[in-house]
């Protein structure tokens, strides 16, 4: 009995060997690289699709270099909410099925690096001089504990939008409206000026109560921009720990408290994006709102299709930075670069990074920038012939000079949830600004302990 | 197959369903378990079938203790009150099921099924489903299924109680005949004393899990051991009268306000001496009570109601608090409220202890 099984085993090994040699005849070895991205179809599809073109190029490179390896890219690209998307990466990593290349917000660098799910790229990056083209400031968002863990994919600014025709109804002259971006830039038009204008519009019945000034309806980086605006800090450069600034926090919560309770604004939290937020804004029922550059395209192609698309937008909407908190202060915006990371389960990080290098180029990146209205990430990209075609991207590029980032810290998720919850409570009137600060301090120490510094 | 039951007990939780039952059934005998519902007769039957496990005691088939045997190892056939036919199988498949399980080959199976089906007169119905049959036909299928594997023991659990009166009568005869022809040891559970009386060789009367009496139908009818048996067997039931038993001279007398009867010698001789004098219960069957004109019988009573039964009339009398019935040839002439005399066939008088319910006559089996 034993002999027979041994015989079968030997036979199998021999057969298997023959198969392997038969296939290895042409000396190439196909390696599947999985790319997982979160993209709004069809505008952001280039996030993943660029890799298909990159693979062809890379295979040609490999062949020329006599490398026996060939890559085959498999793209898993869809559109989920970020919470589910990030949870999926964690769970699939646990199951040993994580994608090789994973796209996410830059703030994930810290979390995933700390958990060991992604690899540091410092030494590998040097092999691809192309990466020198990336705007230096953006690398900052990919850095955690002194190493670079990711490659920027795109970025954006979060402008304050306004409805020009509503401002006109309010009695503003065309010149005044056209000068608003500059007034903001110079710090002449402040946050409270904006609220006062909003209040006026509400009082005159130009917009419904609560619709003077809106932010996004759910948690997100935008709110942190306001916190920065009031002088807040999120991270201690020395220790890399999270920071909560009580004085700035109080001003920040006071602002949103006032907006909601006194200035007829902020009736936007909890709205569904598509059934309420976008339609209301594009329907001309909100005076000021904070949005993203990437939304411009959606409004034009979807909500305002009937009314004339982008032309109508240029006629009706204006945009600028988030006004300064105090007269003469510096206005802000926030950028939230999305980045490519390489999983520590990836067997060929060099090939993965080679693919990323291929897509981090003027051609592929501009393709994505144009179709999704995101800002470019490369030096001198504004001079690139095709990039120049987009008026919006060119007109908003100056904002990167005023931009801020979310901190790279693994506990940012908790921090952000707590500070947002307090904000929502302030807006709904459940907490006063003072109580909100106490709440944040309490919860932060309760949940994060010494991982956070309270100032 | 001879069946012996020894000290059999069955508890359901704290409820005693069968209490120390001892019984033996001879080979080829037809025994009926008779009793009101809930008396433990079906429980006993299911223990014999192997469906219930005895709490204590033994069941033997022949010399072999079968307590631990699975139903299928006991070689029994059983007919249920609800027929328990498998609704999704044809009549043929129903009857053949025991053989299918035994892996009997197709040809033999077909032959044997056809044979029992013909015997039961349902040979034409083999392709039908049970739902398409009448109650009587279903009953025949159930019997055929029990018979097909040629069991050593046949068990019947009130098989006729779902049939109408006429059909019941007919099936009664057929089953009795079948049992005699096949000479299979059979146990027949019923609450209908007429069925038990007409079919069984011996009857075991049970009440509250206790065996009351065990004997031939005639013994049970003529010499009931207990008040319960006396009252349960016979229709219309035996008359009972609380009465004093007294010694007067060399005679024994039954004495009550309105009457005084001297017991005939042959009965008096059987009375256990220890009970004299005391209050006893006198029992006498309605057919042994004769109606005569007032003052001419053993005592007088007022007619309470007259129930014509066809061949006979049942006349009820009021005797103090108690009722007393007489069977008399129809038509009976006499209106409600009339006083009539009653004459008893004194040799048929039976006496019971009012406390224990046992007969106070010495056994005469």
């Amino acid at each position: 009995m034993k002999k027979i099984s041994l015989l079968i085993l030997v036979g199998c090994v021999l057969l298997g060997g023959m198969f392997v040699t038969a296939f290895a005849q042409d000396n190439t070895q196909t390696i599947v690289i999985t790319v997982r991205t979160n993209a709004t179809p069809p505008m952001e599809n280039w996030r993943g699709n660029n890799f298909i073109l990159a693979a062809e190029e890379l295979n040609a490179d490999l062949e020329a270099a006599g490398d026996p390896r060939r890559v085959e890219v498999k793209i898993v690209q869809d559109h989920m909410n970020w919470g589910d998307y990030k949870k999926e990466f964690v769970l699939s990593y646990g199951a040993g099925k994580s994608p090789d290349i994973w796209l996410s917000g830059h703030e994930d660098v810290a979390t995933q690096a700390a958990a060991g799910r992604i690899i540091a790229l410092d030494s590998l990056l040097k092999e691809f001089p192309k990466f020198n083209n990336v705007i230096d400031a953006l690398w900052k968002s990919c850095t955690y504990k002194g190493s670079i863990w990711a490659v920027p994919q795109d970025t954006e600014a979060r402008p304050l939008y306004w409805n020009k025709s509503l401002l006109k109804q309010l009695g503003w002259s065309d010149e005044k409206i056209a000068g608003l971006p500059d007034a903001i830039k110079s710090g002449e038009f402040t946050l409270y000026d904006m609220l006062a204008t909003a209040k006026e519009a509400v009082d005159k019945g130009i917009v419904p109560d609560g619709n003077g000034f809106w932010t996004r309806p759910k948690n997100g980086g935008d709110f942190t921009a306001f916190y920065y605006d009031f002088g807040g800090q999120t991270i201690d450069p020395a220790s890399g720990k999270l920071v909560f600034d009580k004085a700035a926090g109080l001003k920040y919560y006071q602002f949103f408290y006032d907006a909601a309770q006194k200035y007829g604004s902020m009736k936007c939290l909890g709205l569904g994006w598509s059934e309420a937020w976008h339609p209301t804004i594009t329907g001309g029922k909100v005076l000021f709102w904070l949005g993203g550059t990437w939304q411009w395209a959606e409004w034009g192609t979807v909500y305002l299709k009937d009314k004339g698309g982008e032309d109508y937008e240029w006629k009706t909407f204006g945009f600028g930075l988030i006004p300064a908190a105090d007269k003469g202060g510096k206005p802000v915006t926030l950028s939230h670069p999305l980045v490519y990371m390489i999983s520590s389960q990836c067997k060929y990080p060099d090939l993965a990074l080679a693919l990323i290098a291929k897509v981090t180029d003027y051609g592929p990146n501009t393709r994505h920038a144009l179709s999704s209205t995101h800002l470019g990430i490369l030096k001198g990209q504004t001079n690139y012939i095709f990039y120049k075609k987009s008026r919006l991207l060119s007109d908003t590029l100056y904002m990167l000079d005023y931009t801020t980032f979310l901190p790279n810290n693994p506990y940012w998720g908790t921090y952000s949830t707590i500070t947002y919850n307090a904000l929502a409570a302030v807006v709904s009137g459940d907490l006063t600004p003072e109580k909100a600060v106490d709440f944040v301090v309490n919860e932060l120490t309760n949940e994060l302990g010494d991982k956070v510094i309270i100032r | 197959m001879q069946i012996t039951i020894e000290n059999l007990c069955k508890f359901f939780g704290k409820v005693k369903a069968v209490d120390n039952l001892n019984l033996d059934i001879a080979d080829k005998e037809f025994v009926a378990f008779l009793g009101p519902s809930g008396c433990g007769k079906t429980t006993t039957l299911l223990m014999i079938a192997g469906i219930y496990k005895p709490t204590s005691g033994y069941i033997r088939f022949g010399d072999r203790v079968v307590n631990h045997l699975l139903p299928k190892e006991r070689n029994i056939g059983m007919v249920f009150q609800s027929y328990a036919l498998y609704p999704h199988m044809t009549v043929f498949d129903n009857i053949a099921y025991p053989l299918t399980l035994k892996k009997v080959n197709r040809k033999e199976k077909k032959q044997r099924v056809q044979r029992v089906a013909d015997m039961m007169g349902i040979g034409e119905l083999l392709d039908r489903k049970p739902g398409e049959l009448s109650g009587g036909q279903q009953q025949r299928v159930a019997v055929a299924r029990a018979l097909v594997k040629e069991p050593a023991i046949l068990l019947f659990d009130e098989p006729l109680s779902n049939l109408d009166a006429k059909l019941r009568l007919r099936m009664r005869g057929e089953i009795k005949r079948l049992q005699e022809d096949l000479s299979v040891t059979s146990i027949y559970v019923t609450h209908d004393q007429v069925e038990a009386m007409t079919m069984a060789n011996r009857i075991a009367v049970m009440n509250h899990g206790i065996l009351q009496t065990y004997g031939t139908p005639n013994q049970l009818y003529e010499y009931p051991d207990t008040l319960f048996v006396a009252g349960f067997i016979g229709s219309p039931p035996m008359n009972f009268l609380k009465i004093d038993l007294e010694q007067e001279g060399d005679g024994l007398y039954l004495v009550r306000r309105e009457l005084k009867i001297r017991l005939p010698e042959e009965i008096a001789a059987q009375v256990k001496p220890s009970v004299v004098p005391s209050q006893v219960i006198m029992g006498i069957r309605p057919e042994d009570v004769h109606i005569v004109p007032a003052n001419e019988g053993d005592f007088d009573a007022e007619i309470y109601v007259v129930e014509p039964l066809g061949r006979e009339d049942l006349v009820s009398f009021r005797l103090g608090e108690e009722e007393f019935r007489a069977l008399t040839p129809a038509p009976f002439k006499g209106g409600v409220g009339t006083i009539m005399g009653l004459n008893l066939t004194k040799e048929k008088i039976r006496l019971f202890d009012p406390d224990t319910g046992n007969s106070v006559l010495k056994s005469n089996k």
């Binding site: 919470g83 990030k86 759910k218 948690n219 909890g270 059934e275 459940d430 309490n442 949940e447 | -």
Partner: protein, 271 residues
């Protein structure tokens, strides 16, 4: 039980009760508790039991085919994919002129100014959305219980001169007491643990925790925060407390209904 989190969730350590203490220290603990009680109580009595009973009673007392059609309609929410079903309700609640309720009910009546109703009256919709699904459970169970009441009782009551309403009140309701109690308790547990509809409908909003219920809180904490930071340990602690409440209720109701007695003993003892 541990501080299971996104960083080292595969390796539970630091066993402690911190997470439980955190729950009770949470500023919004009372609000969420209150929300849960309100959500469970109102949905249960208005719909899962109330509407379920009403529909069951009416559909068993009208023409059989008509009754059947109504019951089929009420079963629709249960067979509709949750995502589609919730979307439908969002369309109902939408702001004028898109929203159906605004367009066909409120505007003709001159109520409101066409706001997004999910914003202005989130609770109404949370309860309606869950209620319309929940009612079908009671409806099916109770209508089959009503139909299985022996007709003799109903005829007897009619012969005694009872009106339909009196028959229901004095004959049918007492006879479906057990299924009624069963629906009540079973659905209490279902409501306590369900969150999918609320998650898709309001996600606990609008504003802060306005419609956040206990199980949704557990889900949010364990699985879904905006920046993907999941705190399984903390989330699990929330749900463990819920489980304890649920089991306590289950035990109480098993006592009340004499669960043991309801189970019939097998009538074959051989294995």
């Amino acid at each position: 039980m541990t501080n299971f989190g996104i960083l080292e969730w595969w390796n539970p350590k630091n066993w402690s009760l911190t997470n439980y203490i955190k729950i009770f220290n949470n500023h919004f603990f009372p609000k969420i508790l209150l929300n849960t009680i309100m959500y469970t109580g109102l949905t249960l009595f208005l719909f899962n039991v109330g509407m379920g009973l009403v529909v069951a009673l009416i559909t068993t007392h009208i023409r059989r085919r008509t009754g059947f059609a109504f019951r089929a309609a009420w079963l629709l929410p249960r067979i509709t994919p949750v995502v589609v079903y919730v979307m439908m309700w969002k369309a109902m609640a939408g702001p004028a002129p898109m929203g159906i309720i605004n367009d066909y009910f409120l505007r003709p009546l001159g109520i409101g100014s066409g706001e997004y109703l999910l914003m202005t009256n989130p609770w109404v919709f949370v309860i309606l959305v869950n209620g319309f699904i929940g009612a079908s459970f009671g409806m099916i169970l109770l209508s089959s219980a009503i139909e299985s009441i022996p007709k003799d009782y109903i005829i007897a009551s009619k012969v005694d001169g009872g009106s339909t309403w009196q028959t229901i009140r004095y004959v049918e309701l007492p006879m479906i007491k057990w299924p009624l109690l069963f629906v009540t308790t079973y659905q209490t547990l279902s409501l306590l643990t369900s969150f999918e509809q609320i998650l898709l409908l309001t996600d606990g909003g609008p504003g802060l925790y306005q419609t956040e219920v206990w199980s949704l809180m557990a889900y949010h904490r364990a699985f879904a925060t905006y920046f993907g930071n999941t705190q399984w340990g903390y989330g699990a602690a929330w749900s463990v407390v819920l489980v304890i409440i649920g089991i306590a209720m289950a035990v109480i109701y098993m006592r009340v209904f004499k669960f043991g007695e309801l189970l019939q003993e097998p009538k074959i003892e051989t294995l």
